[in-house]
Amino acid sequence: MSAIGLNHFLALGAVLFCLGTYGVLTRRNAIAVLLSLELMFNAVNLNLVAFARFMPNLDGVVLAVFVIAVAAAEATVGVALVLSIYRNFRHIDLDQVDTMKG
């Protein structure tokens, strides 16, 4: 590969997104799910910035800043929820947090 183009960045973003999805689907620990979620956010950001660079348009970078801010807000509330679950169940295994089932 001699020249790096837009496709390379988009492919990397896709790989990162799929790894994140795999993590969200399989991991049992709630915080591991949050970590994988952050991977998905980063994949989206990478796509945005790559498009912004190659179009060129600055709006992609601006949107990426907003995505980072929203991810911060979401991670905060996610961690608060996990702490609350831990306090009530004494563990954060998502397979066993199922008191509403059935």
């Binding site: 590969m1 001699s2 020249a3 790096i4 496709n7 390379h8 988009l10 492919a11 990397l12 973003g13 896709a14 790989v15 990162l16 997104f17 799929c18 790894l19 994140g20 999805t21 795999y22 993590g23 689907l25 399989t26 991991r27 049992r28 620990n29 915080i31 591991a32 970590l35 952050e38 991977l39 980063n42 950001n45 990478l46 790559a50 660079r53 190659f54 179009m55 060129p56 348009n57 600055l58 709006d59 970078v61 990426a64 800043v65 907003f66 980072i68 801010a69 911060a72 807000a73 991670a75 905060t76 509330v77 961690v79 608060a80 702490l83 831990y86 306090r87 004494r90 563990h91 066993q96």
Partner: protein, 191 residues
């Protein structure tokens, strides 16, 4: 100056991103997964630098790696017994999930590889610019102007959103002093 990203830099950073992301989803110890996430975030910041969005790279390190990831590490420390023996299985239905994710991956990959890489698309971007900023220069000044002019409402809304999430997190995570403590001794149930 045509935009010509260094291939060595790109492949090194891509390898670091992929490797650390794999460690995040597959690490046996949760703290290692947290550290791997920080590694991924730094590598992605490096990619933003490669894409000449330097301000975004600094913000990524400052906010994502330096605040969000650290907060997740604190959460790990608060909810995990130290040196806990690992659960017998960390994951549920890993093979099904892997198959699904590979199918998901095939969609964007097939569309990006249909077209040949077009590196002649991008005109020049110069890092430093004067006061009259051109439209597509990713300097801090240009970003500031964009945030204030077309993107005023999202900018203000995001600040309100962060305030709301801050208050919400405080309320959710606060221990209610009127309720009794949950009984001690219910450890993680290893299957």
């Amino acid at each position: 100056m045509i935009y010509d990203p260094n291939p060595v830099a790109f492949w090194l950073l891509a390898a670091m991103v992929a490797g650390c992301a794999l460690a995040v989803v597959r690490a046996r110890k949760l703290f290692h997964a947290g550290l791997a996430l920080v590694g991924t975030l730094f590598a992605v910041a490096g990619l933003y630098g490669l894409l000449q969005a330097w301000f975004l790279a600094a913000v990524q390190v400052l906010v994502y790696a330096g605040a969000i990831a650290i907060m997740l590490l604190f959460a790990i420390m608060l909810t995990h017994h130290m040196m806990n023996p690992d659960l017998k299985s960390l994951t549920t239905q890993p093979w099904t999930a892997a198959a699904l994710c590979l199918m998901l991956l095939a969609v964007p990959l097939s569309s990006t590889w249909q077209t040949a890489p077009d590196t002649t698309l991008s005109p020049t971007w110069t890092p430093k610019c004067g006061f009259q900023v051109a439209e597509a220069v990713p300097s801090v000044e240009a970003l500031g102007f964009r945030l204030l002019d077309p993107f005023t409402l999202p900018f203000e809304m995001v600040s309100v959103l962060i305030l709301v999430s801050l208050i919400g997190a405080l309320v959710i995570a606060r221990r209610d002093p009127t309720l009794p403590e949950p009984p001690e001794g219910r450890e993680e149930k290893a299957p």
